[in-house]
């Protein structure tokens, strides 16, 4: 048992129980004494924002984050505006649900010019900062593993996310550290230090060898090679003491009964985080 991390910091990132509706996930958390949840927008869309809000408020759960905004790059200005408008809706939803932060998965490049796409990401975030401020919602830039650079996010390292965060010059924007995305980085601990005070979320899972899949590639903590406690301590030393989300995209786990997954997750959290 790892006594360094309180069970009260555990948050269920809803994608871990993708087989569950929001109601099932909320009920599961309450039944299993999990005090926080990260909500995905496609689950909100299933029942509407009003009903989602009612579910969350009556459960007493904290909302550690809402997933996800981002997806800024697109080849035309009008399409980029569509993406920005969608991010504004995501900010409104996050505010309505009292979410601490909207997680930004910044999006892939529509063509081979990945550097141009990175500029569009910056412009996209810049354009939603005032709206996020008005709504009291923080924006968390989540660097994704470089293997997702072609189809999910051109922001691929914590170093890059830190440079982007600094260039935006707004305390409304911070970064998310997800161990699955960043564990391999030779400059990880320096970059966690640079992110001091700007870390808005900490996500855990594990990197199992061989990787079961590319998109659905994450495993339960303890099943892989990531030194999770070391990374957790580094983010704590640099000012992050908030919820630890368990975010696992894995078909085999999705095929299990959700209640079983939650028990397994709690045990693994206590032992390996």
């Amino acid at each position: 048992m790892n006594r360094d991390v309180e069970m009260s910091r555990l948050s269920l990132n809803q994608i871990t129980t993708e087989n569950w509706s929001l109601k099932e996930a909320v009920d599961g958390c309450v039944r299993n004494d999990i005090s926080a949840i990260s909500i995905w927008r496609h689950k909100i869309a299933e029942i509407g924002l009003k009903e989602s809000k009612h579910l969350i408020k009556s459960s007493g759960l904290n909302v550690s984050s809402v997933c996800r905004g981002g997806m800024f790059p697109a080849s035309t200005a009008s399409e980029r505006q569509v993406r920005i408008d969608d991010n504004k809706r995501a900010i409104e939803e996050t505010a309505e649900l009292d979410g601490n932060v909207l997680v930004l998965v910044c999006g892939p490049s529509p063509d081979k010019d990945i550097q141009e796409s990175r500029k569009w990401v910056k412009e996209g975030i810049e354009s939603i900062i005032p709206f996020a401020e008005q709504h009291g919602v923080k924006l968390g830039i989540e660097p994704l593993h470089p293997m997702y650079a072609a189809d999910r996010s051109v922001i691929t390292t914590l170093g890059e996310a830190n440079v982007l965060q600094a260039s935006l010059g707004s305390k409304q924007v911070g970064v998310i550290v997800d161990v699955f995305h960043v564990w391999w980085d030779p400059f990880l601990y320096e970059e966690i230090k640079r992110a001091k005070g700007n870390i808005l979320g900490f996500h855990v899972s594990d990197w199992k060898v061989p990787l079961p899949d590319i998109f659905k590639g994450r495993s339960m903590m303890g099943e892989g090679v990531i030194d999770i406690p070391r990374i957790r301590k580094a983010v704590e030393e640099n000012g992050y003491h908030d919820f630890v989300e368990v975010e696992i995209i894995n078909q085999e786990i999705w095929d299990r009964p959700g209640g079983e997954t939650l028990q397994w997750m709690k045990n693994s959290f206590a032992k390996y985080v």
Copy 2:
């Protein structure tokens, strides 16, 4: 047709025709007017070094590199010594074949302490530098894509390879730039500049979406998202004007007749490199 890159710079990295023996690959290159080859050690082992040398000499082919040394990290000192001894044999083979460079795939970590493994990589390379000097063989540190950090190489970015190269302080050691491994890197062009004068190899293939596989994930140039000419021009501006190896690990390509692959490779080289 891209007129910037001469067809005489094309080299067949032998893994692209994994279905072929060394003799078949050498004959294929000669038949298709390809002037260089990169040889894999498991193919040398099939027929022995003497026969391999005879094949290469009588063909008149250049040997752009030998693949591969490396694999330094191991949990015991005796096992690390076994790896170092194997690297010395690889250096001897490279010298016998008049190879320009031995490519180093540095190896995964035997445990969760990836930073310790990086030290073992450094120690391993340090210990073989004098032997490489005596044999006139250059050592090329190849950073691998971060998705291989857990099972192939703890050296994951060109930045990290540059730091390692500089810390070794020997002109016997340089870096290899493989577009598949580095294309996503936000600091790629700065790091290519930092590598100026130390670039010992340039490898091409492409990143297709979705990726067909993790290990066997590479595609023919032109099939994916990588801006290959831009990266090629950057390595040229920073002093590399030697062979361009086509290195593709892909089951579908391996299942084709080798001659067909070579024709396709030449066409794609002319159009997309």
